[in-house]
């Protein structure tokens, strides 16, 4: 537990300063320059060795869009970084990972405070040691999803089964989502997703993280294998084997893939990979379909008319609505500025 630095009037937690800085995307040097102190001063504040002056604290608060009282809130004990630890494989910068982690941590903190006033849905997620294909089948059954039907609102299904989905109010270039298990009314899975990604990609990322939650808690294999397994899980979970033979009918064309994208809510590219993995098409045919997609410019951006609706989680919004009559009260309680509240609740 962190020991706060105190003077006669205030208790300041250095980790709060670090949290505010990192979720706002500043380095220590950048923050120091903005508020007119040197970098070592910021380092000292964050380690709790010195307390910032009133002016410095006010400047930090303004810049990071928190109320000065935020730095007096005792921080949350633990928020495990979970699958964010696998970022090395995706060459994610530390700055971006920090932004993702601290934004998720802040939202989780609010949820954990508000959750004391609610009974959260019971967690219905199994922990499995099976292969990805089998794990996906069992998970579908555990979550009450038919084995052979498309999942229409994945986010809603997961929330109803006790998984907390956080829609982070930030665009993360190389992180689509990450997941972790936390202690919230018992052991509870959390998935945090980045804003601004296409609907089908978000669904696949959520399913990928679901794979990590189900199969890699605790991690048993190398990061590379875990990532591969989670991809296979996502693919099997969203596109079940038992029905793909009759859906991915040969000869597979871009037109068929476009129709299936709308039906199953996954990208055309994910469908090609699935068809190849199930040996419905050969490696060469898959390559050819990818080349055809590239010739239309659809490898980087699939046609707009096929856009999959972006799913929105409800838990965070419902908690705020259930407890507060206005966003101002929520902002005051959580020591946030209005602009940060608008940002945090925009996608909730």
């Amino acid at each position: 537990m962190e020991t706060p630095k105190m003077n006669q009037t205030r208790t300041i937690y250095g980790s709060r300063i670090e949290q505010a800085r990192k979720l706002s995307g500043y380095t220590q040097k950048q923050l120091a320059e903005k508020i007119g102190v040197n970098q070592s001063a910021i380092a000292q504040y964050e380690k709790g060795k010195t307390i910032p002056s009133d002016d410095a604290l006010k400047a930090i608060a303004e810049l990071t869009r928190f109320l000065p009282s935020f730095f007096e809130l005792a921080p949350l004990d633990e928020f495990p970084e979970g699958s964010l630890a696998y970022r090395a494989l995706r060459s994610v910068t530390a700055k971006e990972a920090d932004k993702a982690y601290f934004n998720a941590k802040l939202m989780y903190e609010h949820i954990s405070i508000m959750a004391r006033s609610f009974v959260l849905p019971r967690v219905q997620l199994p922990l499995l040691g099976e292969k990805a294909e089998r794990s996906a089948e069992i998970t579908r059954a555990s979550l009450g999803i038919a084995p052979d039907l498309p999942i229409r609102d994945l986010t809603n299904v997961l929330e109803r089964n006790g998984i907390v989905i956080l829609s982070l109010p930030i665009f993360l270039k190389k992180i689509d989502a990450f997941s972790t298990w936390v202690d919230l009314q018992g052991n509870r899975p959390i998935i945090a997703e980045s804003f601004g990604k296409p609907g089908d990609r978000v669904r696949f990322s959520i399913a990928h993280e679901l794979g990590h939650l189900v199969m890699h808690h605790p991690p048993k294999i190398t990061i590379k294998l875990m990532e591969k397994e989670a991809n296979n899980f996502a693919s099997s979970f969203l596109l079940p084997k038992c029905v793909m033979d009759s859906e991915l009918i040969k000869p597979l064309s871009l037109y068929t893939l476009a129709q299936l994208k709308i039906k199953w809510g996954v990208s055309m590219q994910a469908l090609i990979f699935r068809a190849r993995d199930l040996k419905i098409i050969t490696e060469r045919q898959a390559t050819y379909l990818f080349t055809q997609m590239a010739s239309h410019g659809w490898k980087t951006h699939e046609p707009n008319n096929l856009d999959i609706k972006i799913e929105t989680p409800q838990l965070f919004r419902k908690m705020i609505e259930g407890l507060y009559d206005s966003p101002d009260r929520y902002a005051a309680d959580m020591c946030l500025t209005d602009s940060r509240v608008s940002e945090m609740t925009l996608f909730a």
Partner: protein
């Protein structure tokens, strides 16, 4: 004399597009699939025959159009669109030994919505207006291209009411593969053609059918609300500790 104007052509274009709208995506898909299968067939042929010489490219060029046609025919048949390969003997009726003639571009022929249609390989050209292959020596193809006399039936003198159906124009689907990995398809209504000249009422590029797919409209879609059972109404109790007992005591004191 029948007057050809934009309005007439526009009506004809819309009518043909509408008539063929159910099969245009099929033809596009079949073309795209054939184009993906043909290189595989030729690669397989070269592999089996150990043909890794520079001449392998010749095989590709020789076989490509015929294989495309054959595979397209098989795929169309599997979609219940029966077509037949056009064998035009007029092509070989060469009178002069050294005369340069334009051979007619044979393709597939079918019938849909009481209209004849043909699938032909387009000519390579910078302008769309020049991609319709002329009929060459083929009288059959000249006849097929000749739609001009039919336009007069679209005049008010020949109202469609009264039990007699308007004669239908022949149609051509022109296909091309501008690059090894892409295809183009055009819907064409020829006007006339003879020798090395061919004129069309319109040549319209067809967009990829995937771009016309619209997600189903579900007006009655209900977002399933998440049920959250509430324990306490006042967040301050949570934030500032449970003061329930104290407030009860205060209430009691006030009542007394």
């Amino acid at each position: 004399m029948f007057e050809e104007n934009d309005e007439n052509i526009s009506a004809l274009r819309e009518e043909i597009k509408k008539d063929f709208s159910p099969i245009t995506p099929i033809i596009y898909t079949v073309l795209e699939t054939a184009q993906s299968v043909v290189p595989e067939c030729i690669e397989l042929f070269n592999e089996r025959c150990g043909n890794d010489s520079p001449d392998a490219g010749k095989v590709y060029r020789l076989l490509h159009p015929s294989l495309m046609r054959a595979i397209m025919q098989i795929l169309l048949n599997s979609k219940n669109l029966k077509t037949k390969a056009v064998i035009d003997h007029d092509n070989y009726d060469i009178k002069a030994d050294w005369e340069r003639i334009i051979l007619s571009n044979n393709g597939l022929a079918g019938k849909y919505a009481d209209r004849n249609y043909r699938l032909l390989k387009a000519l390579r050209s910078e302008t769309i207006g020049n991609i319709l292959p002329p009929p060459g020596q083929s009288r059959k193809k000249s006849n097929y291209y000749c739609n001009s006399h039919l336009q007069q039936f679209r005049m008010p003198l020949y109202p469609s009411e009264g039990g007699c159906e308007l004669p239908k124009h022949n149609v051509i689907y022109l296909w091309d593969n501008p690059t090894a990995n892409s295809v183009s398809l055009y819907l064409v209504c020829p006007k006339w053609g003879r020798g090395n000249k061919a004129v069309a009422y319109f040549i319209d590029p067809i967009e990829h059918p995937a771009l016309s797919i619209r997600p189903p409209v579900e007006p009655d879609e209900i977002v399933r609300e998440l049920d959250l059972e509430k324990l306490r109404d006042d967040i301050n109790i949570v934030l500032n500790g449970d003061t329930q007992d104290e407030s009860n005591e205060n209430d009691l004191r006030e009542q007394n």
